[in-house]
């Protein structure tokens, strides 16, 4: 199931209010920020996973995604820009 990261009503960023231990049913309530990784959309998260799994090789990623090297590099640079923006919020 896809984790919602923005409010469906006003599109504001969501926070984590409750965490549950599945083993002992302990419930922790609070107001926690989502980690930056989870604030990215699924496609971007998958891109980061692929990047790590190919040991950071854009050439290998380009081959796997059937895209050109500069296209993959541009995707990575756009992602870096987005992460910088999210971190500075």
């Amino acid at each position: 199931m896809k984790l919602p990261i923005t409010c469906p009503s006003c599109e504001a960023e969501l926070k984590v209010q409750s965490l549950l231990c599945d083993k002992c049913q302990t419930n922790i309530n609070g107001s926690f920020d989502l980690p930056v990784f989870l604030k990215l959309d699924l496609k971007e998260q998958n891109f980061i996973m692929d990047f790590v799994q190919t040991s950071g090789s854009l050439k290998v990623m380009a081959q796997q995604l059937n895209l050109s090297y500069p296209t993959v590099r541009n995707m990575l640079d756009d992602l870096i820009g987005k992460i910088d923006t999210l971190k500075n919020k």
């Binding site: 059937n66 895209l67 050109s68 090297y69 500069p70 296209t71 590099r73 541009n74 640079d77 820009g81």
Partner: protein, 203 residues
């Protein structure tokens, strides 16, 4: 329309693009030699000229490609936040010459004879309402087809060149459009001097 026709650079770049592009430039130079087409700058082509030798056409085509690619590479180095590669710029710009293969074939159409006939009629009696009555409909049709194809090829070349620049340098929006136009203007100026100082010296 298939997006790859005007933007294949999401799939092709680097050495592969350079190989395809250089092959295209060689093919263009060979066809243009036989059809009497020349390429005075990066975005212009002329028919009805005296046929150039294949080595001269190669020097002409390669020179304009190198001039434009060098300019946009320098723009990319200074204006892009990405670490750009020269091989991507030179490769993708070489690929964007491909539509000139079609234009080289247009040189086989008897455009020069038709335009000479029309301009002679205009000079003789410009006020004559039946000015073009002596020009056969088939020849006017050829002229119209030539004009439409030339326009389509020009749009295609510019779209390919712009996308090559945009993707290889990762410069977006208004900035990319402005830098692209400046690059075209600068390369046209440099190409003019290149034509005079280098191309005309080749037999």
């Amino acid at each position: 329309m298939n997006k790859n026709i005007y933007n294949p650079f999401n799939k092709i770049a680097g050495v592969q693009a350079l190989g395809i592009g250089l092959t295209a430039i060689i093919i263009i130079s060979i066809i243009a030699h036989f059809s009497g087409v020349t390429f005075p700058s990066i975005i212009s082509a002329q028919t009805g000229t005296n046929a150039m030798s294949i080595p001269r056409l190669l020097v002409q085509n390669l020179g304009h490609w190198i001039i434009f690619s060098t300019i946009i590479y320098l723009f990319g180095v200074f204006a892009s936040k990405s670490h750009i590669r020269a091989i991507d710029i030179f490769g993708t710009i070489a690929v964007s010459r491909i539509p000139f293969i079609l234009f080289s074939f247009l040189g086989f159409l008897p455009i020069d004879g038709i335009t000479q006939k029309i301009s002679a009629a205009v000079k003789t009696n410009p006020a004559d309402p039946n000015l073009l009555s002596d020009v056969p409909l088939s020849e006017i049709s050829i002229l119209i087809v030539f004009a439409l194809l030339t326009l389509a090829i020009a749009v295609w070349v510019i779209a390919l060149m712009y996308n090559a620049f945009r993707i290889s340098s990762n410069i977006k929006g208004e900035k990319s459009a402005i830098l692209f136009i400046v690059a075209i203007i600068l390369s046209s100026i440099f190409s003019y001097f290149y034509e005079i100082m280098i191309v005309r010296l080749i037999p």
